[in-house]
Subunit: 289 residues, 4 copies
């Protein structure tokens, strides 16, 4: 976080490989010899039975050809250590799409943080199945695409949406309270590329009407969960969660209102972590550095 405003471009390397001695040494030696200065490093070893090692390294990008750097890394480090890895560069901003229905709170929170410089992405488009928020989006100078969805046209609407996301070279999509369930086919096009906000503390109250169900159960905290979308509803890897205290005084409408604040915070933190390359998938769980 602290280096995100630095002038010189940075790179962020995410790594997963079998755990063994020498990985930190191998990677850091390679970066040193390439002229890169490490700014931040985090690592995680799973328990020995699984034996996996995960690492995030952020470094000042040396004045080198990126393709050459990547090829050298593959040959000298990644192949010998059986690594899966990705690299992202701060001088190439991610392209983030937002899908939304008619609730404005998550959308506006993202747009306001984007405008204020907190979210270092481009937002080439917002897609909605309603026209409700068209003007709000226009105020931020972002193109708004209205793609209505009905039971009858769902496949067609999804095809059109997939096409739009591809056309805009979108890196990932945020469902900012998008009230439609995406088909397995849709999700398949964007693995670990769709972030959803669910308005409960999962796995409690998965599915529809979580605030009503929380009210009926009489819980003393309500929550929200940001997760990657998989083809199992509300079962994807959790990125971030938080809760707020409620009491017998709160009606379902109160829970909805209080929940908006948690949804905004949780979704924002998850989106930031994704933008900053802090999230690595590990099975159905996340490592958030």
């Amino acid at each position: 976080m602290l280096f995100s405003n630095t002038q010189q471009p940075t790179a962020c390397l995410l790594i997963c490989c079998p755990d063994k001695p020498g990985i930190v040494a191998g990677v850091s030696q390679f970066l040193y010899q390439s002229g890169a200065n490490i700014l931040d490093a985090s690592q995680h070893s799973t328990d020995p039975r699984e034996g996996l090692f995960f690492m995030r390294m952020e470094f000042l990008l040396p004045n080198l050809d990126k393709a050459a750097l990547e090829a050298a890394f593959q040959a000298q480090v990644a192949t010998p250590l059986q690594m899966e890895w990705t690299i992202d560069y701060s001088d190439r901003r991610k392209q983030m799409a937002i899908m939304v229905s008619a609730y404005d709170h998550c959308l506006l929170e993202l747009l306001w943080r984007w405008k204020s410089g907190e979210l270092q992405v481009d937002i080439p488009l917002v897609i909605s199945n309603h026209r409700t928020l068209e003007k709000d989006v226009a105020n931020f100078g972002i193109p708004f695409h209205h793609i209505p969805v009905t039971a009858a046209n769902k496949a067609e609407q999804e095809a059109k949406t997939i096409q739009l996301l591809h056309d805009h070279q979108v890196d990932f999509t945020v469902l900012a309270r998008y009230m439609q369930i995406l088909s397995a086919n849709f999700v398949k096009h964007f693995p670990q590329r769709i972030i959803n906000i669910h308005h409960s503390f999962l796995p409690a109250f998965a599915g529809a009407k979580p605030y009503q169900n929380a009210y009926a159960r009489g819980v003393k905290l309500i929550g929200a969960t940001a997760h990657y979308v998989t083809d199992e509803l509300d079962e994807g890897p959790i990125i971030e969660q938080d809760v707020a205290r409620v009491s017998h005084k709160h009606t379902v409408e109160d829970l909805v209102m209080l929940g908006r604040d948690i949804e905004r915070q949780v979704l924002t933190r998850a989106v930031k972590a994704h933008i900053d390359d802090r999230v690595i998938l590990h099975g159905n769980k996340t490592i958030v550095f």
Copy 2:
């Protein structure tokens, strides 16, 4: 809370009745004419479809015969307004039993708070199916009863336990990580009289091994729930809940360790609320004033 240390005895009235104008006036007028000074009052009206009114009133006890006060209240206020009500007096401390297995953290937290004067109850006995904590309990000068339980002797062990609780005129029992499931028959003897601490944020991870299940799901918060025991496992009315933040770094053992802190806090707050007559049951939910 702030009046619990006052010298003059106080009384606490809990009320449930159909909502209609004049209830506060009726009760407060009665208390005023009886010479009682109201110290604290809380009320709650359910939504109009249900139409119920709940109230808690704490007052300095006038120098009157308690039975006479209660009879007058029944005749002049409760009957006309179709009230269910209870009254408790600060000069008669509640009798609290604790049941525990081998984990010490919830037990010691309760005993330390009791010793420090935070919990204004008597603790006539601790019952355990193990001898592990016998010396810890003895250090506080409280009788310890060891009643082993096996698959074969469960009915007999429960009968013995029920007898003990009755013999000691126990008002309520706290399961401070008691690792046995109580039979429906046992629970039936003590309706809204048994408080359990479950080591998850219910309704997530009900049943056995909540920390393992939380770990497997990759949640970012773990929780604990204090609730009244009913004959449906982990489905009773929730009194209090809280959570703590966890991450991919935490093993199941870490979750168990971090969870102990939440369990201690949540159980303590629930027990305090019960002791202070702050909890009213409303269906399967609680009103905690």
Copy 3:
């Protein structure tokens, strides 16, 4: 909170008087006989040395002449019990002004919550010493007044502002990060009528540059404080406070960014409490029911 959306108008009575038996009975009896149904009641007694009693009662407004109701209350209840009191009616929305400089986060949070119906007030005007946020305010359809301030014109600018607030019959003013210190004369016109958000956990880091000072001291939490403005800088009665966790990783710029979220939440909660007549002043402290 739960009754704020009810159709029938409500009234809210705030009371302060010497503590003695019979106050609740007197007020509730009066309301009952006036045909009012009490929706919510809260009370607070200070310690016996001070001997003060505070109460908030919200009730469904009977179909009566308001002036007659108030006169009767004064004669029958307030005078005998030596009460100071105020009453507010839900069918007369408060008029809230906002003063702001160039930071948008607190302003937009208030405006968004107002638009979404969370803040039940009218906002007749926003006043700023800069033009920076003119368009943002216009998007919400609220008049924006630009009143520049310099060392030379400060008295004149304040006079103009006071006039504007009076012209719009403003009930209270929110300083949503207004970066000017108001003169004692200005404050004197609006006692307990100006709410400020200070970007620290007061009394720590009063005055200028709280985030820089928090950074220099190495605190592990940063905070924000909403308080009524008095003529002693950052010394007014505190309405609400909250904090967020920080670490050595955070630069001053990070603290500023993280602080925005706390400022938004804390200011919003304070403004809501004020709008809902939940705040009573007691010396330099607040009672927030």
Copy 4:
């Protein structure tokens, strides 16, 4: 945390040096060649004007002579990179003393966590200026030293205490609500070796009677701060802080009671971080990895 229970001994290296490329590579290469497997690594670079680099590396200890390892590290890595560094080994438990007056809550919390295995230290002695807690300490099988302190004997009492701490080869001392101010001379003997818990959110309410002052100011949160003791009262480097919500309902006595819970939590977390070699001093601030 997650590796603290591993069977094979581990070592923890703390480093501070001028920031420049190659530090991570240099250290990790050295450890790799020494046969050490890195378990966890954290690093922090200050802003470029200061240009400092801090790192913590925890690794499985290779089967080597410790003195030889340290000498080689000094020659090959530390000297060339101008490092200040320390190393600690898990197979040599730290010796922790506790000083306490008459409040038991912080002491018992530490002792209970020590007994439960959460605090991996030896506790060779508890020192108190009162006999109040002698039996509590004896229950844990730890020697209790009673050293009364008066205005007259303070120098002598401190000399005796210093001698005791030296005799027991104490690594660090925890002031678990020790109600005496240590002299500058005392503190000088144990730089960054004394952890104190102050019962306020510093820098607010430094000095005596913080709960009274918090009450008088009408704050809405109370806090606690764990810090290293320096010769400026309550001005030492902060390790950990936390807060709890309070309201107008709470008396000073209530704040004291609620504060105990925060003090226990905050002190415990600070002591754990110190034991686990997670804290590096940086001027008057701490880096807590």
